[in-house]
Symmetry: C2
Subunit: 140 residues, 2 copies
Amino acid sequence: MSTPLISHLGIAVKDFEDAVKKYKLITGDEKPAIHKVIDQKVNAAIFEGKKGCCEGGARIELISPTSDDSPIQNFLEKKGEGLHHVCIYVKDIEKKIKELKNAGIRLIDEKPKIGAEGNKIAFVHPKDTNGVLIELEEMP
Amino acid sequence: MSTPLISHLGIAVKDFEDAVKKYKLITGDEKPAIHKVIDQKVNAAIFEGKKGCCEGGARIELISPTSDDSPIQNFLEKKGEGLHHVCIYVKDIEKKIKELKNAGIRLIDEKPKIGAEGNKIAFVHPKDTNGVLIELEEMP
């Protein structure tokens, strides 16, 4: 089975409608999937390349808070708009977490939780990954 | 022909060797392509998924200045380590530049230049793309 590196990038935005309009133009994807992620309290829009063409082609996910107590609202207040996370596919998330811990790389989630798309995920601490918040996602 | 969305992400790092070591572990790619980009005065390491498996699978490019007058040195001093740019594939870069300009989205490069991999590229102004520096790259 093929193993692409990147699942998606999450970009935190304030004005969801306006950002969706711009990214339609930039990416050329005029029909992004729009959905609500209840536990993160965000609206999300997922842009991809030519639909269905590239197995595992990385996507761009715009995320915008729907409530003041969303973790993304907190991010926007502290850091402003911009890249929030990069999601990388891994084959065996428990094994990867162990490897990283053994190498002294800190994890936000030492045990996997279930992500928006139903897969096992875990976040790595950005202090140990050169300032980029990396999400690990086990390939379904 | 397939049209993936993302060519690569560029991440600015200070300690190149240390960052390469960490990203080998995180991505599972133990043999990233290492090269010098002369005009940007950077060392670059490009990490991908399982080699050769996924046409157009997005890659991670670590970039680190080799000289104090590198544009990446400037970025590190102002913003610190982290995501520097997201590179998106486009089919016709002149057409895309025109479309974006017509929509009021500012470009850093109003005319394409030639990127490190020999393709036509242009940067979009991050003020008009929610804080993310987007590089457009014409598919070869």
